[in-house]
């Protein structure tokens, strides 16, 4: 979440005070991303330094009103069209856990997967309750909730796939080990990923 650009977006509607920016930021993200006031002023100070926003009047602190500059508008437009960096996969803790579960002797990887699957479903139920209630009349919140539900759904689908792959690997007869460097079957599976 880029706080500077979110604040620029709010300022693009007209000049605003710091506290007002915080409130509008939270309302605009369905209150899912809280923002403290210190963070707001720090960011505004940086925007001012970089010439992307400017303050009105001489007073400091809450009395100060900020407005976007022409440079700020350009920076915002450029940011909106720049794809976020999705090229390298994040180091996913759950992926690590499943890979480890598949290798640790005496661990039932299926049971590990099931525990995570249930937890994720419960999380999805919570988000759905939010969608059923407050997000009905709150477009920003509905968009945020949908994004979260799709993300969690994708994780569950990956778990389902991992479950099937591991079951298949366990059912297959172990292939004869390569002559040079014998590797355990699960290591091979992990390495192929």
């Amino acid at each position: 979440m880029s706080v500077p650009h979110a604040l620029l977006a709010l300022l693009s509607e007209g000049p605003k005070y710091g506290l007002q920016l915080r409130e509008e930021f939270e309302a605009g993200t369905g209150e899912v991303w809280p923002l403290n006031v210190g963070q707001v002023y720090k960011t505004l100070g940086r925007l001012e330094r970089d010439g992307l926003a400017e303050s009105e009047g001489g007073q400091d602190g809450p009395q100060k009103r900020y407005r976007i500059t022409a440079g700020g508008r350009e920076a915002l437009a450029a940011w909106l069209r720049t794809p976020p960096d999705l090229t390298s996969p994040p180091r996913d803790e759950l992926v690590m856990k499943v890979l480890v579960a598949a290798r640790v002797p005496g661990t039932d990887a299926h049971e590990v997967i099931q525990a995570h699957r249930l937890y994720l479903l419960e999380l999805m139920q919570q988000w759905t309750r939010l969608k059923e209630g407050e997000a009905r009349d709150d477009l920003s919140l509905a968009l945020v909730v949908d994004a979260e539900l799709f993300r969690l759904d994708a994780v569950i689908r990956w778990l389902d796939t991992a479950d099937v792959r591991l079951a298949r690997a366990a059912a297959e007869p172990t292939p004869p080990p390569p002559a040079a460097a014998p590797v355990p079957q699960l290591r091979r599976l992990g390495a192929r990923r």
């Binding site: 209150e31 899912v32 809280p34 419960e122 139920q125 919570q126 988000w127 309750r129 939010l130 759904d153």
Partner: protein, 258 residues
């Protein structure tokens, strides 16, 4: 920000009785003969209360649909007991079972199955008319069901004069018309896009909050997440279920502690 009342302390938080509308006790279903037996269900225990929506999730071949046909009394289990509203189905004469299916159980189909030659009102009233309820009384109940789903104004339209969303609502109205207590749905959102599929689940969940019990079979986690409880099925066995999740409040950071 106002927080809606989302307590799930009682079944669906709506104060309906905790009596099981559907109860499966150690239910197994085996097809075929040895050595080619297929165990579609193996020792399933499931209890669904009034006001509760349970989603049954599992890969294809996990026994989801078998569970639904047995719950709907369309098939008998090989062993175990099925109780609907406290009455055991075992040994019940076929005509009584048929009456139970017509009066107590509502079905929601994948493609909604509205009869094209009947109006929305006639479609909604159909299960009651088939059950021998006098036409004016059945139509009044049909209209009440349409009303609850917000489509009473469409009662005299034919299915092809309705939008997709309105057809969903009429189909759900037909499933809950009269005094139906148990709603059974097999992939109820069919091939709908995700927004409309979610809308079907919202309507089913609202129907539960008015007091019916529902079992919804789906392979889609986003749809299952609408339920009060998600039950996982695999190779005919229940492998786990969600415990009652806390309210969504925990997802939001309370203002006071910032």
């Amino acid at each position: 920000m106002s927080r809606p009342e989302l307590s799930r302390a009682e079944p669906a938080g709506n104060g309906h009785s905790a009596v099981s509308v559907l109860e499966l006790r150690d239910v197994s279903k085996t097809y075929g003969q040895e050595p080619d037996e297929v165990h579609a269900l193996a020792g399933v225990d499931l209890s669904v209360r009034a006001g509760e929506m349970v989603a049954v999730m599992g890969p294809s071949g996990s026994g989801k649909s078998t569970l639904l046909t047995i719950a709907g009394s369309l098939e008998d289990p090989t062993s175990g007991e099925v109780l609907v509203c406290g009455t055991a189905l075992a040994g019940m004469p076929e005509d009584r079972k048929a009456r139970l299916r017509r009066r107590v159980i509502g079905y929601v189909f994948q493609d909604f199955n509205l009869l094209p030659g009947l109006t929305a009102g006639e479609n909604a009233a159909l299960p009651l008319e088939l059950d021998g309820v006098a036409v004016p009384k059945a139509r009044a109940a049909g209209l009440a069901a349409l009303e609850a789903l917000g489509v009473a104004g469409r009662a005299s339209r034919f299915p092809d004069q309705l939008s997709g969303g309105e057809r969903q609502r009429v189909a759900i109205a037909r499933a809950v018309v009269g005094d139906r207590r148990l709603l059974l749905a097999d992939e109820p959102s069919g091939a709908l896009d995700s927004v409309n599929a979610g809308e079907v689940m919202r309507l089913l969940h609202e129907a539960c909050q008015r007091g019916v019990a529902a079992v919804v079979v789906t392979h889609d986690a986003q749809l299952a997440a609408w339920a009060d409880r998600v039950v996982l099925l695999r190779d005919g066995r229940m492998t786990g279920q969600t415990t009652r999740p806390p309210g969504p409040e925990s997802l939001l950071v309370p203002r006071e502690i910032r």
